[in-house]
């Protein structure tokens, strides 16, 4: 069975779902962050798959998007981890479910 676009899309969907689950349900801030990175990867995979299968050969827009997403992911990771350290410094915890100051 040849590998088609749908294979990659389904794979991306599953990877995205795993990342989403981590982002939604993990207690640890770093765990949440890992989930977000997985989601980024899933999206990137989908971009590349579309670029390979749907766009003409000369078009590298999907690749360029992925490069930008990776850039943003790197920036995001740096800032998020800085925030994590800051939160830990101030609140003695990095449990996401205890970061609930912003309510009511």
């Amino acid at each position: 069975m040849a590998i088609e676009l749908e294979h990659y899309l389904a794979l991306g969907a599953l990877l995205f779902a795993i990342g989403l689950y981590m982002a939604l349900a993990k207690r640890n801030f770093v765990g949440v962050l890992m989930g977000i990175e997985l989601m980024f990867n899933a999206v990137n995979l989908t971009f590349i798959a579309f670029s390979r299968f749907v766009s003409p050969a000369t078009d590298v827009t999907g690749h360029v998007f992925v490069v930008f997403v990776i850039t943003v992911a790197a920036a995001e990771a740096a800032v998020a981890l800085a925030l994590a350290m800051l939160v830990y410094r101030n609140r003695e915890t990095i449990d996401v479910d205890r970061m609930d100051l912003l309510k009511w």
């Binding site: 939604l24 996401v96 479910d97 970061m99 912003l102 309510k103 009511w104």
Partner: protein, 673 residues
């Protein structure tokens, strides 16, 4: 003979004053023109805006001469320029362009020349006023707007400039905005003219929906060739006329003009002679082919014009404020022009506009000169000024006689032409006009004799109370001005005005005496009628010169002057006795036909405030506010419950986002299975 004027130059006519306005405004904002005393350079700098304005308008004037020259070569026919696309919104396509024809060329000359002289005069009149730069900025804008109005080739474009003119009049009438009366007068002028503009706007909408045309030339063509239904034409024309009546102070909407005297006198001169009020006449003339094909519309014009002419003249007889006399005189003369248009004599009407511009500007500037000397506008406090200010006296007399229509001054020629045309077309109007001539002569005579004849009555004493309600505002105005003039006002002896003010007077007097000869061969009328569509030519009135009418009109005028002489100079007939004998009439005239009261009490307080406003108030209070307050309470109550959902947990928010995503995808899938 020059080459035909290119389009860019025509635009330059229009944009030179606008440029002056922009430069002055910017400079004033940047503080470059702050008035300062001291070195000559500083003074020069302080007057820079005046010089700039005059330079711009002078350039416009010269270019206007070129335009006139080009038009003369075409015998008044329209010089076509292609319009430029301005706004395209769906089916609406608005072009912007300029058009020059006989009518526009003459108007250009009138506007620029009178404006130029008025600016020159203002150099003296406004010296030292704290709002000097503002004044010249507004004046530039005013002139530019009027030029734009004249040159507009598109009815919407015309409307824009029309409203700009209205705005400028508001700004200039309320120039001394720190005075309550000026503010009120400005607001009144603005609101009253707006009432007419509603009609104008409705007319634009009507013509656009019916013909898909906004180009003036096209509309004229369609109307002249009978492509538009007669009822549409009538409604369109009446709507236009409503706007014209508002701007030109015709009968029901004339009440703003006398109050507009609150502005500086040169502004009054400009408004009355060249810019604002003639805009209405110009509008009717511009759409003359439309009016002429509709019997009802042209009759409305003539009737309103006639009523206005007589009524305003009668009010002028009892007014004590010199500027109010002239204001009513202006209204009356505008009525004349409307009458002339109404009888189909467009050439005569615009010719009268042309001559009237010069002598009316002269009258106002003369009044300003008088006021400069005496510190008051109240004629009862003047008298005998002929001795103190001979130049002013001489020029004002020339203007007055021209207004009455004494041979061979300018007014004679134009008024005579109107009378001839009226006689040829509508004899009833002829008799009305003749009555108007008599009344005109009476109030002109009264004004001249009260002001310049007899003994000097002292002017405005610094500490006297307010002798008349009319002049109280006026006297207060002068105290609001610079101290320089205040000091002059308190002098025992009035004196002649400085040369900056006199020079325009002399120039205008010369013009007022001579411009009548321009049309002695009828050439000007030909130019003015040259642009009309051929289909309408037979509808234009073409009366032949009739000697007896000229003789009669001059005789009636002289009779009026004689009556005034008898009453006010010789006192053969005592004015008080006349008043007593005609008590009800006197009261009626004093109260200005109760029109102000009618507007104020009945319409404003009764209809609008008690009726409409109260209903709207109730609607606002109970329905609109009720809905809003109800919604607010609902929100407050519900948000108290809903805020519990905001747990502060980022993950729950993220979950909400993705629930939304899934819901949206599901929605799309269900919508497009």
């Amino acid at each position: 003979m020059l080459n035909q004027i290119p389009e860019g130059v025509v635009w330059a006519i229009l944009f030179l004053p606008f440029g002056s306005f922009a430069v002055i405004s910017l400079a004033a904002l940047l503080g470059l023109t702050r008035p300062s005393t001291g070195s000559g350079r500083a003074v020069w700098r302080a007057r820079l805006s005046g010089y700039l304005t005059m330079a711009a308008i002078a350039a416009s004037f010269l270019l206007s001469l070129w335009a006139l020259d080009s038009v003369l070569q075409e015998d008044g026919a329209r010089i076509g320029f292609d319009a430029h696309e301005w706004v395209v919104v769906g089916p609406l396509r608005v072009d912007i362009g300029v058009t020059v024809d006989g009518l526009a060329a003459i108007m250009l000359i009138v506007v620029t020349s009178v404006s130029l002289l008025v600016q020159f005069y203002s150099q003296g009149y406004m010296r030292g006023d704290p709002g000097y730069n503002r004044y010249y900025a507004f004046m530039s804008l005013f002139t530019g707007s009027m030029l734009g109005l004249v040159l507009a080739s598109n009815i919407l474009q015309l409307f824009v400039f029309w409203e700009l003119v209205g705005l400028c009049s508001y700004l200039l009438i309320g120039f001394w905005f720190y005075r309550d009366s000026a503010r009120r007068a400005a607001t009144k002028a603005f609101v009253v003219t707006r009432i007419g503009d509603v009609g104008f706007l409705l007319a634009i909408l009507l013509i656009w929906t019916r013909t898909d045309q906004l180009d003036i030339g096209q509309i004229q063509h369609l109307a002249a060739t009978g492509m538009i239904g007669s009822s549409v034409i009538t409604l369109f024309a009446l709507g236009l006329f409503a706007g014209a009546a508002g701007k030109s102070a015709q009968f029901p909407l004339h009440v703003w003009l006398p109050d507009a005297m609150e502005g500086p006198t040169p502004v009054s001169a400009l408004i009355h002679a060249a810019t604002m009020v003639v805009a209405g006449v110009y509008l009717v003339a511009r759409f003359f082919p439309v009016f002429i094909v509709s019997e009802e519309a042209i009759n409305a014009v003539v009737v309103v014009g006639a009523i206005t002419a007589i009524m305003a003249a009668s009010l002028a007889i009892v007014a004590t404020d010199i500027k109010r006399v002239m204001a009513y005189s202006t209204i009356s003369q505008l009525g004349y022009m409307m009458m002339a248009l109404g009888v189909g004599a467009i050439g005569a009407a615009i010719f009268h506009l042309f001559t009237h511009a010069f002598f009316k500007a002269l009258l106002f500037l003369g009044a300003g000169s008088v006021n400069h000397a005496t510190g008051t506008f109240d004629m009862r406090k003047m008298g005998g000024l002929a001795r103190f200010m001979p130049m002013t006296f001489l020029t004002t007399t020339v203007a007055g006689l021209a207004l009455v229509g004494v041979f061979p001054l300018a007014g004679f020629w134009s008024k005579d032409e109107i009378l001839i045309e009226a006689w040829a077309e509508k004899p009833l109007i002829f008799w009305t006009a003749l009555a108007g001539v008599f009344l005109t002569a009476v109030y002109v005579g009264r004004m001249l004799f009260l002001t310049f004849g007899g003994e000097y009555k002292g002017g405005e004493a610094p500490a006297t109370g307010s002798p008349s309600p009319d002049s109280s505002g006026e006297s207060a105005k002068r105290t609001g001005q610079a101290s320089e003039q205040g000091a002059e006002a308190g002098q025992a002896k009035p004196h002649e005005s400085p040369w900056v003010m006199l020079l325009p007077l002399v120039v205008l007097a010369t013009l007022a005496a001579t411009v009548g000869f321009v049309n002695i061969t009828g050439g000007m009328s030909d130019i003015l009628e040259g642009w009309l569509p051929e289909e309408t030519h037979e509808l234009v009135a073409a009366g032949e010169f009739v000697l007896w009418i000229s003789v009669v009109s001059v005789a009636v005028g002289l009779a009026g002057l004689g009556l005034a002489w008898a009453i006010y100079s010789r006192k053969v007939i005592r004015a008080e006795e006349v008043s007593a004998a005609l008590e009800p009439l006197q009261v009626l005239l004093d109260r200005k036909y109760y029109l102000d009261e009618l507007y104020e009490t009945v319409i404003l307080k009764g209809v609008i405030m008690r009726g409409a406003a109260a209903a709207l108030h109730a609607w606002d209070r109970y329905v609109i506010d009720g809905v809003v307050n109800g919604l607010a309470s609902l929100m407050r109550l519900s948000s108290e419950k809903f805020r519990l959902a905001q747990a502060g947990q980022a993950q729950i928010y993220g979950a909400a986002i993705f629930i939304g995503v899934v819901a949206m995808i599901a929605g799309v899938l269900i919508a497009n299975p």
